[in-house]
């Protein structure tokens, strides 16, 4: 899992959005995952930024098209357009600023208003390296995540902790969802389809399955 592949060569294309309050570290999570870079002095995101990376799950290549959105309230009216077609979301908060966790609920609502019901959501508590400043306990978020039926992981973009796992988990879960959907075989996540052409559903213009997926590495 996790190997890089050439850009054009993929079986599935998934659109994933990064959302959450301003300054929680969304852009650094993205640059850590797509370029293995981190900057303590990164600029604030205005509007939207965009990056891609492919990973391998089983014998399939999943290409993630990741949209990093601006966190500030002002931009929400405009960023809502960026949700279109998203099949996965990383909802990020800052474990050292409790207010960013409190706002998760609003973000979740917005996400559910704008995307397909099957969207895979992962709650991401970033900046876990700042242990002495922690303001949100792991337990608190675990309870919340269970209640809201989202995935949850704590990360540190700075220390490269769990970043890879968070993205990979989301992409893998999306893969499972679309696979299930195609076969219509209920809830068994272990049953994976082979060589199917799958419509991800929703009014989807970004996430898609490449027909006749070319293959395995």
């Amino acid at each position: 899992m996790g190997a890089y592949r050439a850009d054009e060569d993929y079986d599935y294309l998934f659109k994933v959005v990064l959302i959450g309050d301003s300054g929680v570290g969304k852009s650094n999570l993205l640059s850590r995952f797509t370029k293995n870079e981190f900057s303590l002095e990164s600029k604030s995101t205005i509007g939207v930024e965009f990056a891609t990376r492919s990973i391998r799950v089983d014998d399939k290549v999943l290409k993630a098209q990741i949209w990093d959105t601006a966190g500030q309230e002002r931009y929400r009216a405009i960023t809502s357009a960026y949700y279109r077609g998203a099949v996965g979301a990383l909802l990020v908060y800052d474990v050292t600023r409790h207010v960013t966790f409190e706002n998760v609920e609003r973000w979740l609502k917005e996400l559910r208003d704008h995307t397909d019901a099957n969207i895979v959501v992962m709650l991401v508590g970033n900046k876990a390296d700042l242990r002495h400043l922690r303001a949100v306990s792991t337990e608190e978020t675990t309870n919340f995540a269970e209640r809201e039926k989202t995935f949850f992981m704590e990360t540190s973009a700075l220390e490269s902790l769990n970043v890879e796992s968070a993205f990979t988990e989301v992409l893998t879960q999306i893969y499972h969802v679309v696979s299930k959907k195609a076969l219509e075989i209920g809830d068994d996540p272990a049953a994976l389809p082979k060589g199917q052409t799958i419509n991800v559903g929703s009014r989807d213009d970004a996430s898609a399955v490449k027909k006749d997926g070319c293959c395995s590495a």
Partner: protein, 402 residues
């Protein structure tokens, strides 16, 4: 809503304020009317110069400058070429621009059109020329603008506001309730914190804000106050991330207010769907592209589906400050500020598309978006601005603003 407040004066008003006759740039030449007829200078071309009559020359001669040979050479040169703008612009490009500008800017009255024409070709670094040249552009806006009144008390308000904030900060722990005054105060501290976070992230690469030295702290502090004040004066806009980017160079309140005044509607959420809001501006960019290069426009619309809000949102709201290296930004802003009533920002955006047209045409959604979100920094900026100037206007819009 905001347009009313921040409205630009009509061009004819401006002309009245700044006389544009070439020969009468300055009042007061007569007072110091001694001096240069008898001097002996030669231009390299060897052309003999006509003597200069008092009042005829467009430049003020200060008595302190009488021994400044370069100034006199330049004055004679200007006189000899007269209205030959071709020659003037050639000379400006070569070496005389700093002198020309500093001469113009030392006048009591400034020919704004001429200043803008020269500034639009770029203002040389050094000597504080840029600040001076931008200021008249800003000043014009002040003339028939609500900020005329505000600017005078701006400093006092800033001080008072800062002071009250300090007091409030000290009292912070006392507050628990939701009394209106306190919630108002917390509303502002929220803004202050957001501004703080963003100022830390404003052009970290620039020597203007070097680390934690006391000077850069002061600069940040000053910028913070200006932004805060703007947020306070314009409650519909408040503070929006990105304002700090725009404020870097416009480190004078006047410049900042003038620049933000023009693009203020883009920061205002309520105006998103109005004709002066960001969405309308983005669609104007799309229309401008259609008029100037339908092939590229079709490529975006039909093939790659790359919408202007995916790339040009940041271009427009931040006046291109995140797209280029700093010296290019200054150069672009010379052009932007020298064209305060036009559509130069959209022209430049459109030119940015045209300048990478072949790459765009051969790319798909992903490569197009990556290219436009990380615009190549090896672009020839002068060429880009020339393309921008040559853009055909979209005549379906009666009036284009920034």
């Amino acid at each position: 809503m905001l347009k009313g407040k921040l409205k630009l004066p009509a061009p004819d008003k401006v002309r009245r304020v700044f006389p544009d006759q070439l020969g009468s740039l300055v009042a007061g030449f007569d007072e110091k009317g001694h001096g240069i007829e008898g001097s002996e200078f030669k231009l390299e071309s060897g052309k003999e110069l006509k003597p200069i009559q008092p009042g005829e020359l467009g430049f003020h001669i200060g008595s302190d400058d009488d021994d400044d040979k370069e100034t006199k050479i330049w004055q004679r040169f200007c006189h000899s070429v007269g209205n030959n703008s071709h020659l003037t612009s050639w000379f400006c490009k070569v070496e005389a621009k700093p002198k020309l500008l500093s001469n113009m800017l030392s006048q009591r009255e400034i020919n704004l059109e001429k200043l803008q024409r020269i500034a639009s070709t770029g203002i040389p670094d050094g000597g504080g020329l840029r600040e001076k040249a931008w200021k008249p552009s800003s000043t014009v806006i002040f003339i028939s603008n609500i900020y005329l009144g505000i600017s005078g008390v701006l400093c006092a308000v800033a001080l008072a506001f800062q002071f009250s904030l300090i007091i409030l900060l000290n009292l912070r722990q006392l507050s628990l309730g939701k009394a209106s005054l306190w919630s108002q105060y917390f509303h502002y501290t929220e803004i202050v914190e957001q501004i703080d976070r963003d100022l830390q992230r404003t052009h970290p690469d620039l020597p203007f804000f070097p680390g934690e030295s006391s000077i850069s702290c002061k600069k940040r502090e000053a910028m913070k106050n200006i932004i805060l004040l703007f947020a306070k004066l314009n409650p519909e806009i408040r503070y929006v991330q990105g304002m700090n980017e725009g404020n870097v160079e416009a480190d004078r309140v006047s410049c900042f207010v003038r620049i933000l005044g023009d693009s203020a509607d883009h920061f205002c959420q309520q105006l998103d769907n109005s004709s002066s809001g960001i969405l309308a501006t983005l669609s104007r960019l799309s229309d401008l592209l259609k008029v100037n290069d339908e092939q590229l426009w079709r490529h975006f619309e039909l093939r790659t589906k790359v919408k202007p809000q995916f790339y040009a949102f940041r271009w427009i709201t931040l006046l291109l400050t995140q797209e280029f290296k700093f010296e290019y930004i200054l150069r672009i802003w010379d052009t932007l500020l020298s064209n305060p009533f036009g559509d130069m920002l959209l022209r430049i955006c459109c030119a940015m598309l045209l300048c990478v047209k072949s790459k765009l045409l051969s790319g798909d959604f992903v490569t197009n978006l990556k290219l436009l979100q990380h615009y190549p920094d090896d672009i020839n900026i002068e060429y880009l601005l020339q393309v921008a100037k040559d853009i055909r206007p979209d005549t379906s819009y009666y009036c284009l603003s920034l």
